[in-house]
């Protein structure tokens, strides 16, 4: 028994050595996801990006990932493990990974780190993010055009700048069409609880909203819209299969092109730390086909999308804060720093921002 065990272990050791040796000339790229890749939302989209990179770069790279990594104490170990297992570039896809990544990046100066949605950078730690608010502005315009009651429901997870930015952009878009547009907000305090999201959607519809949008990950809210014959928007992934008659468009994350670009940079030896915030024009934010709407609304949405792709920022003055004070003067554009730390609503949002 003992001999057998030893024999097994030696073979295993030999096997694993063989694997490493063979892999040595490939670039090993690694990802850390906060959720399961089966969430069909945020982590799923990042993993689609990884698969896209694998397809594009073929045998020049090999990839590995850790999913379901808690933002608590496990994160440090996840990054340390990948760093020690020969990953040359590591992507951390959740905000909560920021400080663990800073720590591990300091320890492994030869390895490149890329952190999504954070703000701390260093020599070997870059930051990337997507301007999801651009898509939400377009969605707000569509909502205002399509709504009969003039009220939309918005299901949200947690009050972080990313989410507040989305609410504000949606509202600004809606107000550009209908200045009296109303927005009802429900915080579900979870990124992921399909049942609760469905309940929230029903509550919002019952209180007069006839269009739903959400900053949570599941398709549940959209399915409720489908059942009730009302309209809604998808989030993260194209959810048209779940709501063929209800989805107007979906604000999708498309990380693939960015991952390919960064991996190529590592392969060429041109990788440098950066802090990028990609939008519609870079293809990182994509609006899935405009459906279930009349042609004039579609035309308006296309036009706005093009305007944004050409460089126009939805946060362009005049914009007023919720309390009525002016935030952006006429023609003034919000700077990225303010947006990344946004913690107030624009005028007209009918909710108190949880503080």
């Amino acid at each position: 028994m003992k001999k057998l065990l030893i024999a097994m272990m030696t073979t295993a050791a030999a096997l694993s050595m063989a694997v490493t040796a063979e892999a040595a000339d490939k670039l090993k790229a690694c990802w850390v996801y906060v959720g399961p890749i089966g969430d069909f939302g945020y982590s799923y989209q990042h993993d689609q990006g990884r698969l896209h990179a694998e397809k594009e770069l073929g045998d020049k790279i090999e990839t590995a990932y850790l999913e379901n990594v808690s933002e608590g104490p496990d994160a440090d170990r996840a990054f340390e493990r990948l760093a020690r297992e020969g990953c040359k570039i590591i992507f951390g896809t959740s905000f909560g990974f920021m400080d663990p990544m800073v720590k591990v990046a300091k320890k492994f100066p030869d390895i490149k780190f890329e952190h999504a949605t954070g703000y701390k950078t260093s020599e070997n730690l870059g930051v990337y993010n997507a301007r999801f608010y651009e898509g939400r502005y377009v969605m707000g315009q569509i909502a205002a055009k399509m709504s009969k009651t003039g009220v939309a429901g918005y299901i949200v997870s947690f009050p972080i700048p990313e989410v507040v930015m989305g609410i504000d952009a949606f509202m600004l878009g809606a107000q550009s069409v209908n200045p009296d547009f109303k927005l009802k907000i429900v915080w579900v305090n979870s990124w992921f609880d399909p049942g609760k999201e469905a309940d929230a959607a029903k509550a919002l519809f019952d209180q007069g909203a006839d269009i739903i949008t959400q900053h949570t990950d599941s398709t549940a809210a959209l399915q409720v819209a489908e059942e009730r014959g009302l309209k809604g928007f998808g989030q993260s992934s194209d959810m048209i299969k779940f709501a063929p008659n209800a989805q107007l468009t979906s604000n999708t994350d498309n990380w693939g092109p960015y991952y390919v670009e960064r991996l190529k940079a590592v392969l060429d030896g041109t990788w440098k730390t950066d802090n990028v915030w990609l939008g519609i024009k870079d293809g990182a934010v994509e609006l899935s086909p405009f459906t279930n709407m009349p042609d004039d609304v579609k035309a308006m949405a296309e036009a706005t999308k093009k305007k944004i792709a050409d460089g126009w920022n939805p946060f362009t003055g005049p914009v007023f804060k919720q309390d009525g004070s002016q935030w952006l003067k006429d023609g003034e554009v919000a700077d990225d720093g303010t947006l990344l730390g946004l913690n107030f609503y624009v005028k007209g949002v009918d909710d108190k921002l949880p503080q």
Partner: protein
């Protein structure tokens, strides 16, 4: 055919020692089938799972880090469970310990010096202990079922932490993100051997707690009291032990240890408060407590084993592309085999053929016969 258990006259020392190995062997067999079905080479899978995490020094450190809170919490829980008191809200006590302990570095960030850390640890224990005193009070005073109250309080504590780090305790320089300020250096639990890895004093706390509780349970009157009240409250009352006092004692002790685990994790590893500070330590510790057979020294071993399966699961994900789900299934299998094999300590298992089944014994004599075995 059916299984039949025959109680041994006394616990079997042989199987007490052997059962973990039988369980391990069974896990290997079942695991080999699972991996083979999934098209993964079982040999390299086992190597990755069990050997690779302990083959490098840095991973040994990680093992200690992961095991420390599990052991700390489980040691406290073992006292509860021995006393037949069902605290399953350790996750909440962990959270409250972290919150109360963090009051020092969050509210007084300028406070420095050697007093800070002991104060934080003490406050963490008080926080966890007091939070555990709530279900204890409700049970002692109103006879409210503690399983449920302690569990409900877990959710409440997590939402409370969430509110704190998004609201009043949010770092003003943190770009609006939900986190407190970074703790200053004197509020950070030092690492044991910084040269070789990250393991910190939390692991030492865990070992000390295990030894102290072990001494208490096996050598002191208090331990006797816990066991008597646990196995028979009536006998305990005759002996003059107060059940209500015991409820408070067990809850507060386990709460304080969970709180200590909470503040140790926050101070030693995260260095700030965030909405998520635990990957479910409080629940995993319940399993650790039983895997360790409610014996503090057994719990140390069990905590290390469970931590090993977490590390092994991660290694398998990156090295072999085995999904996180498979890792969890494998972990579940291991737990089932360990629990099942422990049956052998107290019972002999007999397979009884249906035909061989004796006529139903006269219930009056059955009991006596059982005792005579």
């Amino acid at each position: 055919m059916r299984l039949e258990l025959v109680k041994r006259p006394q616990r079997s020392a042989l199987f007490s020692a052997l059962s973990p190995f039988i369980a391990f062997a069974l896990t290997l067999i079942a695991g080999a089938i699972l991996f083979a079905l999934l098209g993964i080479d079982p040999v390299s899978a086992f190597y990755t799972y069990f050997i690779s995490p302990i083959s490098e020094v840095w991973q040994l450190h990680e093992l200690a880090i992961k095991a420390a809170p599990l052991i700390l919490i489980a040691v406290g829980l073992s006292v509860c469970y021995r006393a037949n008191i069902w605290n399953i809200g350790a996750e909440g006590q962990f959270t409250l310990g972290a919150i109360v302990g963090s009051m020092v570095p969050v509210l007084y960030p300028e406070l420095e010096g050697p007093i800070v850390l002991p104060l934080m640890l003490l406050m963490g224990m008080i926080g966890g202990g007091l939070y555990a005193a709530i279900p204890a009070y409700l049970k002692a005073r109103f006879n409210t079922n503690e399983i449920l109250t302690s569990l409900m309080l877990v959710y409440v504590s997590q939402l409370f932490l969430d509110w704190l780090v998004r609201g009043p305790w949010r770092d003003p320089q943190g770009h609006g993100f939900p986190q407190t300020v970074q703790f200053n250096d004197s509020a950070i639990l030092p690492e044991l051997m910084p040269a070789s890895g990250r393991a910190n004093w939390g692991f030492v706390f865990a070992l000390v707690a295990a030894v102290v509780v072990w001494i208490m349970m096996s050598r002191m009157l208090k331990g006797f009291e816990v066991r008597v009240l646990g196995s028979s409250p009536r006998a305990g009352r005759f002996a003059g032990f107060g059940l209500n006092r015991m409820i408070f004692f067990a809850f507060i002790l386990s709460g304080a240890l969970a709180g200590l685990a909470g503040i140790s994790v926050v101070s030693g590893e995260i260095n700030q408060l965030k909405p998520v500070i635990s990957p479910g330590y409080g629940f995993a510790a319940i399993i650790v407590a039983f895997l360790g057979r409610l014996n503090p020294l057994g719990i140390v071993a069990a905590g290390l084993v469970l931590a090993l399966t977490y590390l092994g699961g991660e290694a398998a994900q990156t090295a072999l592309g085995v999904s996180d789900k498979v890792a969890r299934v494998f972990q579940g299998m291991l737990l089932f085999f360990v629990l099942g094999c422990d049956t052998l300590i107290h019972y002999r298992i007999r397979l009884v053929g249906l035909r061989a089944k004796a006529p139903a014994p006269d219930p009056a004599t059955a009991g006596k016969l059982g005792e005579a075995h």
